[in-house]
Amino acid sequence: MSSESTYESYYVPHNSPLPIFASLGIFLTVYGGGNILNEMSAGTDSNFGATVFALGSLVMATTLFFWFSKVIEENHAKMYSQQMNKSFVWGMSWFIFSEVMFFAAFFGALFYVRFWVVDWIGGEGERGPSNMLWPDYVPQWPLLNNPNPEIFSTPQGVIGAWGLPLINTILLVTSSFTVTFAHHAINDGERKKIIGWLVVTIALGVLFLFCQAYEYYEAYVHLGLTLNSGIFGSTFFMLTGFHGAHVTIGTIMLIVMLGRAMKGHFTKTDCFGFEAAAWYWHFVDVVWLLLFVLVYVIGT
């Protein structure tokens, strides 16, 4: 068969201690996290949860560091074939797809609540009788008047789209361009430019996170818009919060890529680590655009 002559050996590591440490790390992290939450809700004073959580995070972070180092090292030792690289490409693509579905759950919740639930609680449509519980409730969006204000605090207002969120949109969209410029620089083999554009991208990401933190401060302190202020606060903070968490992860990935660029790791044909981080960054950007339109512009 002609294909046998072009066959490259596919790297199968013999065995590895990394996964079992990662399993232990992730278990300790969530077990500690669960204890923290239960201690918090029960009002008990204990350091058990926090200790286990810190230990787990440490194990997890260390393991991931060694895991990625190992992969980079193997790549530099030319153990990976083109076929192996394709596995990484597929793997990252499907991972991003799973992330898309995670956000879809929260966007779906927002859609369902906004178009049906808010009106149904007010007595509209076929589930009308539910308004008997709270006769004073008037359906509106954004929901500033919770049906039961005794449990859910009433916010004074919401974050408008055309202030900070617009600035944030500009920041993130710009950063998607700058990360692409860094990619072009890799193709041209100009290391200084790679580093320059990556620094700009990371700076834009950090600036975005700073603006987002300031927006949360505004919401909590001046508007009384909190996680506890009904479904608007719930969807708003969960969507923007998970997005912010993903920006943080993306920024960390880019910082790692910056370090690797400084070591001169990337070439035109060998830069998958960078590409994966860039795809992730674009994905985070697209989610933000959806957020901006659905949560801020139409949502307020």
Binding site: N15, V30, A77, S87, F102, E126
Partner: protein, 532 residues
């Protein structure tokens, strides 16, 4: 080639390590497949014991053995463990063992991540089982964990349940990414998608479903977590949320999940029936398209699980008709299996017995599903034992029978020894009788109005409940025979030939029995295509 590659090439021909660390550190798809399968069997026994607690309590009306609170924990944990701990890992184990051998790949595409996917599971289920010993008891809100039972009224252990689900989700997503990448990237040169064995096809589609819906499950348990600990209002109408929102998000995950547990079973049966009918599978292409259609439809029918919740009538009608549509591709499959057997030179070894029982009993489960899809009728059936009978028919003599069929079919290839055919057939008949005696009467008591998830019931349901409990103990204890047969086969027995079954086709039968530790380090040359 550099020296490094030479070194690694030596590595490649290593046999397995000795001792426990072999299993902890392994990156070998066969080792990891074995781990998954044993883990799954252990969970099957644990979840089975819980089922027997339930059936023992229901043997007679009144409260005899357990308090209602504990009964609720048993129904909840039984469902969670069987779905996430027994059935899903068993299929992942089969995929690990078989997919690389069937497509001529040296291993799974991402071997270290493969090990990680497995070793998360013992931690996740250890944490889930530990909730039984926590203050307030284990989760008691049913395996579907509807809010607000699982939020406002849940025991504190719900936090650990949520994180256990997160861990299972991470494991499933990584495992599925590995399967998809292996299939798309590591097929032997010249093997086109439409040349793949049907088991590989069904797993490709299953893995896609898993990657699409496990994150949604993660989303819904995260909303629960926030409602419980941070005062959000997702499932609380007092803050503008809606408990029904929980059901929508959950079943958007839950319905594809149902097919995640049955599509690989279709693949297994489509491998076994042609072998023992000594004919090619009838309608290969239509099998592939039917599988894809079922997967697509699974995303747009979720609300048929919640007809009685008070949906707009247009929604009920839509979900009813969309659900009934699934009967079409499923019917195509059943037709194809029957047509494969038609005029075949049939023999009835244990895998074939399980496969034929699968076709018949899964069809019964499918037809009762069709009954449940009819909205006005569903108002009568909803949350009765009819529903319990329905989904146990598709899961036990459906998924689990196919897993057992697969175990008997490929055990000789895995171990190099034939299993004991007499004992295997005994196991089959005990299981077949046990499963029908357990679940068939539940149709009757369900239609008569007995609600599910109660430790006590009205006197008129007593007779069939007693029959059902007897069947459950027959089925439960006959699985110990299965354990014995498998161990006996691993320890020794008549040597299996490389081909094992004289009608078997596929790359896995071209290698030695037992399969060498590393197979297809260089891709195999494919046999000439019959259809080309």
């Amino acid at each position: 080639m550099s020296a490094v590659i030479e070194n690694h090439h030596d590595d490649h021909h290593h046999g397995p390590d000795k001792g426990l660390m072999r299993w902890v550190l392994t990156t070998n798809h066969k080792d990891i497949g074995t781990l998954y399968l044993w883990f799954s069997f252990a969970m099957f026994l644990v979840g089975g014991c819980m089922a027997l607690v339930i059936r023992a309590e229901l043997f007679q009306p009144g409260l005899q053995l357990v308090v209602p609170e504990f009964f609720n924990q048993m129904t909840t944990m039984h469902g969670l463990i069987m779905v996430f701990g027994a059935v899903m890992p068993a299929f992942v184990g089969l995929a690990n063992w078989l997919v690389p051998m069937m497509i001529g790949a040296p291993d799974m595409a991402l071997p270290r991540m493969n090990n990680y996917s497995f070793w998360i599971l013992p931690f996740a289920f250890g944490m889930l089982l530990s909730t039984l010993f926590m203050e307030g008891g284990a989760p008691n809100f049913g395996w579907t964990f509807y809010a607000p039972l699982s939020t406002e009224y849940a025991p504190p252990s719900v936090t650990f349940f949520i994180f256990a689900v997160h861990l299972m989700g991470i494991s499933s997503i990584m495992g599925s990414i590995n399967v998809v990448v292996t299939i798309l990237n590591l097929r032997a040169p010249g093997m086109r998608l439409m040349d793949m064995p049907l088991f590989v096809w069904t797993w490709l589609i299953t893995a896609y479903l898993l990657i699409a819906v496990m994150p949604v499950l993660a989303g819904v348990v995260t909303m629960m977590l926030m409602d419980i600990h941070f005062g959000t209002a997702f499932f609380n109408a007092g803050g503008g949320g809606d408990p029904v929102l929980f059901q929508h998000v959950f079943w958007f995950f839950g319905h594809p999940e149902v097919y995640i547990m049955i599509l690989p079973a279709f693949g297994v049966v489509s491998a076994i029936i042609p072998t023992f009918a000594r004919k090619k599978l009838f309608g290969y292409d239509s099998m592939v398209y039917a599988t894809a259609s079922i997967a697509f439809l699974s995303f747009i029918v979720w609300a048929h699980h919640m007809f009685t919740v008070g949906m707009p009538i247009a929604g009920e009608l839509y979900f009813m008709y969309a659900t009934m549509l699934i009967a079409v591709p499923t019917g195509v499959k059943v037709f194809n299996w029957v047509a494969t057997m038609w005029q075949g030179s049939m023999t009835f070894e244990t895998p074939m017995l399980f496969a034929i029982a699968f076709v018949i009993l899964f069809t019964i489960g499918g037809l009762s599903g069709l009954m449940l899809a009819i909205v006005p009728a569903d108002f009568q059936y909803h949350d009765t034992y009819f529903v319990v009978a329905h989904f146990h028919y598709v899961l036990v003599p459906g998924s689990i029978f196919s897993i057992m069929a697969a175990a008997y079919y490929w055990l000789p290839k895995w171990t190099g020894n034939m299993y004991d055919e007499t004992l295997g057939k005994t196991h089959f008949w005990l299981s077949f009788v046990g499963v029908n005696v357990t679940f068939f009467p539940q149709h009757f008591i369900g239609l008569a109005g007995m609600p599910r998830r109660y430790p006590d019931y009205a006197l008129q349901f007593a007779d069939w409940n007693m029959v059902s409990s007897v069947g459950a103990f027959i089925f439960g204890f006959s699985q110990l025979l299965f354990l014995f047969i498998v161990i006996k086969c691993v320890m020794g027995g008549k040597k299996a030939t490389d081909e094992v079954w004289d009608g078997a086709e596929g790359l896995e039968w071209t290698i030695a029995s037992p399969a060498p530790y590393h197979t297809f380090s260089t891709p195999p040359a494919l046999p000439e295509r019959a259809t080309a």
